[in-house]
């Protein structure tokens, strides 16, 4: 299965990645190879087998509803490139 260049550009846009023309072509080939591998797996007959979403025993571990302090404001903001009024600042997002 071969991906089109447009599909690669769409996937890159979803991840907000800017790719050069060379990268687009390289990733197109690599992603296509991954999809080919998935196609081989899909050829296996699995209609009688329930999907495995985890290899752990299906038992939900729950915790009590009790709050505890988390990060201090200083710790929370320490790695942010830009802050203002104790908030993270980011570039505007296209709407």
């Amino acid at each position: 299965m071969s991906l089109t260049l447009a599909e690669v550009e769409h996937i890159a846009a979803l991840a907000r990645l800017e790719l050069t023309p060379e990268e687009k072509e390289r990733f197109r080939a690599q992603l296509s190879a991954i999809l080919d591998y998935a196609d081989r797996l899909q050829a296996v007959e699995t209609s009688d087998i329930p999907p495995t979403s985890s290899v752990l025993p299906p038992h939900s571990a729950l915790r009590p509803d009790e709050p505890r302090p988390g990060l201090s404001l200083g710790e929370a903001l320490t790695n942010a490139p830009l802050t203002e009024d104790d908030q993270f600042r980011v570039p505007p997002v296209l709407e």
Binding site: A15, P58, S60, A61, G70, E84, D85, E95
Partner: protein, 482 residues
Amino acid sequence: MTKYEAVIGLETHIQLNTTSKIFCVCKADSWNDPPNTNICPVCTGLPGVLPVLNQRVVEKALLLAVAMHAEIQPESYFDRKNYFYPDLPKGYQITQYDRPIALGGWLDVPVPASPAGGAYIRRVGIAKLHMEEDAGKTRNAGHLRQIDFNRCGVPLIEMVTNPDLRTAAEAAQYLTRLRQLLRWIGVSEADMEKGHLRCDANVSIRPAGSQVLNPKTEIKNVNAIDAVREAIEKEFERQVREVEAGHRIEAWTLDWDEEAQVLRKMRSKETEADYRYFREPDLLPVCLTQAQIDAAAQEMPERPLDRRARFMETYQLPEYDAEILTAERQLSDFFEAAATAYGDEPKKVSNWMMNEVLRMLNEQGLTAGELRLQPAHLAEIIQLVDDGAVNAATGKALLAKVQQSGRSPAQVVADEGLARVSDDSAIRAVVEAVLSESPKEVESYRAGKVTLIGWFVGQVMRRMGGKADPALARSILEELLR
């Protein structure tokens, strides 16, 4: 000219009122807290952390599912919904996709009579109900955006209706009844102003009576019931104009601008496939035992509309009274306890509730559960008035004094000497004093102006601090004025 009807489905996001967040131990309610003070490595998506599901979230989701008559799924799964937005530090939202905790269900919504027709019940089907985490808050500040992550990871229930609503008024009623139910069963504060209950509306139109489903638009960001009604009404009218003009309705996403009261077209969003859902590998399936499901059914109280109907049936209350008394669960509990303590004439208890108790709640900004005045106190006060031990005005004042002091009505009456004076000689002495001090009025009365009797009674009552039996005062006055 073709007559059109609207086909409306609502998607609601309900913030659960748990103490901590859904997957981490941060405090959930940040309404009064400064930005970024209730966050931790889990809810800000730092590397190497693992989510652990809050037990109360599952319990509250279950209770809501029971309340909506939904089919609870013994096994449900969490998934990752991938999208890139600054309010979502992980780059994905943990939600439930194809295996939610509950499917189906319904809510019966009474729609009051209007100029368009009589009252009726609209049954609104529920497609699915699932658990997920809320995202942070962003706001524009100059040419950049500020982000507060406090709301990240606050538990949400997303509940999607079938396209069963036909008018904007029905949609507003659905939200009103849903909000009442959420508070009633105690799963959410459901305060729309605080964003506890948020709503998106899907709207399409078709010729009235037709069964087709046409392309729909999705209205986002309507966070008040009146705004939902307004926005749907406007969108319905716009679609009718478009179709009448021979245009096709396109599947737009519209943003409601509350200030300008207009809908604006939003940039088209990702399609379903773009979210690249997959099972959340860090969480195991939620497995519910029959015992847990039974416990939720046990915990489910009588629903507000069922209680309303029972109040009309058992206590013979008019619909108007029953509606007001069941607006809120603690208020309805208060009425029922007071009516039981009083014994007969529940309508009389209802009148005291609707006039005196509700006024007190409004004036003091309290809920029925916060009153010091107990249902038994109310019953006792009505009884004191019935027995003639205090007059009606004193009875009303007693309510306030009991609420203020926490003492029982009988105690307040004894402590403050409020008991009505029905002793003939005590009233007679005051009447004589009033008459001797008002020769002009006495003369007018005797000359035929008998309406002055009210003024004389008033004088006597005032001198006796309102404690005189007014009927007795009147008969003594009439006797001495003859």
